[in-house]
Symmetry: C2
Subunit: 343 residues, 2 copies
Amino acid sequence: MKKKRTTIKDIANVLNISAAAVSKALHNDSRISERTKENVRQVAKNLHYQPNHLASALRSGKSNLVGVIVPRTNSNFFSSVIQNIEEVLNEKGYSIIITQSNESYDKECKSIDTLLYTQVDGIIASMANETVALSSYEKIKSKGIPLILFDRGENDLNVDYIGIDDYNSSHLIVEHLVKNGCQRIAHIGGYKRTRIYNNRIRGYVDALKKHKLPLDAELLTEGNLTIEDGRIKMTQLLSLKTRPDSVYVAGDYAALGALQVLKEHKIRIPEEISLVGFGNEPFTDMVTPKITSVDQHSAEIGKQAANTFLKYVENDSTEQRLNKIILAAELIVRDSSNKKTPL
Amino acid sequence: MKKKRTTIKDIANVLNISAAAVSKALHNDSRISERTKENVRQVAKNLHYQPNHLASALRSGKSNLVGVIVPRTNSNFFSSVIQNIEEVLNEKGYSIIITQSNESYDKECKSIDTLLYTQVDGIIASMANETVALSSYEKIKSKGIPLILFDRGENDLNVDYIGIDDYNSSHLIVEHLVKNGCQRIAHIGGYKRTRIYNNRIRGYVDALKKHKLPLDAELLTEGNLTIEDGRIKMTQLLSLKTRPDSVYVAGDYAALGALQVLKEHKIRIPEEISLVGFGNEPFTDMVTPKITSVDQHSAEIGKQAANTFLKYVENDSTEQRLNKIILAAELIVRDSSNKKTPL
DNA sequence: TATATTTGTTTAAACGTTTAAGCAAATATA
DNA sequence: TATATTTGCTTAAACGTTTAAACAAATATA
């Protein structure tokens, strides 16, 4: 059974002052005397007073809650982004509500509804793989609630976006592989409809051109980049008449699947086939051989996303518009592609 | 700039009925005519009405929000538990607020305050490694808010707990190692003050006794079970005059650290030293050799935790008391300890 | 036909805050 | 000393709901 909560009125009664005075004292209003403030703080402590967020949020129109939507928390990238968002926002008195879309468009819509219903002051999101329709996100904008996208974004929404330079990352990777003597570079990519994967594909294609390498359609695939997807695509690549001498996978999980298949086929890595992943998930450094990957600066992305949100609430007049922050990614070279490493 | 929200009153005005009628219509009250209900639904849709959670929660005293506190989301175990909690609770109209303690007692206290402030209807938590004082958790209880613990619990709080049988898991592991011919079994354990790790240690000690194996103090260590901790403890074990022939690590991350050290020392696994982890994190199946581990049934734990919470809100009279649900764990045997596997 | 019950609605208070406006007392300014 | 300003509070309304109580009209019961 619920115990009776202590309210601002209880404090007021004890001190024989008005509830308004108590409220102001607790907010350190300059028009309240030090003496009264001290008294209020004392009584509040004695009665174990805890402010009621619902009431204050309702009245003031500010919930101090920020919604975060990610495809899943179960990946180092996303959980690191979240942790950094939380750190920055907590500092400013905000709490975050995390929801997972599980890469499902349906779940994403539901999450958005829940967050709006909860009256969050803003939403920071990375879109599900499945998402193509934007009406749900438009709804957020139409309510005048700041929307910040990261990693998986969408130009057409005309909101802030923080991500890494996917196009250029592909260039880095191809360059690295070429330097290691690779000539026939395959790409296991994500779905083109997702902007970041599209950019990686474009970067891959352009980089091949730049290095005067032939572009072979059978070396370029699209998928959802799960471990299973990586296994399937790698198996396909191995069955080609002319196998690639290197594979650039647009996600670490798929890269892991590819690695498993290569090992099962007893193909030497990187001697016969070099492998590069994307995301710098911790396991890339744990498996044998360690997988070369691209670090996405998750901490920085989280901080920038949080700060972008804060920018809006601090001077609340600004209208939102397309504003991209693109961070340079970093190639972490490991055993799976570094032929010069002495064994 | 914030747009004006549609409220229940706006709908009432359009239809020339009272706000109360609208509220009841939306809640499908039996005393409202079908005709009015239909009208209300229609107008609500046209005006893009979205109920204000703050107002209804304030008035009804129910926020439909449940707080979840975990040491970190960045582990398969926790994120899987969370996902299952969310699934069960969403079904019943609850949303969850996830907070991470980062294994810090301080952060945990802050999280609890934030959750209470947000007026959550319940809290499902797994305690931080650091946590020894319980006053913060007592505060939850004293407010009459259901508190459910999982994995990392504490008897003294006298609340519901869902976890696996740690004591018996240790028996399973020791038994398995003995069957594989191991005689000198080391244990890299967690801190004894944390109940689950204490149980694993007790199980380890008792299992050694049961199998008439000598208990050697230098083979039993305590730590925080990070990768780094695993590295340190394994290095220590290797420097002993008589090395162990097998190591049971109470956490997968530490087991991974131990594995790294073993590989760096070119020690053959499992021939020279067998290795067993705990938690069945996905990477145990990714590394070489694959690490034997204990599955903790994260999905089941999440579901049970959520259902336990629901039990309280559905018949809200019940007082909370110590009530443990202990699930049997499952040993997943892999290469790191299975000497009978033909190479 | 008179009375009781059901149906469909309204009224008004309440949830716990915040805040604009008001006001008396104390202090500063002329 | 008279007036203006500042200080420290109070009053009352508001935020958007829910809900107990009231009530008129319609319908059922005797």
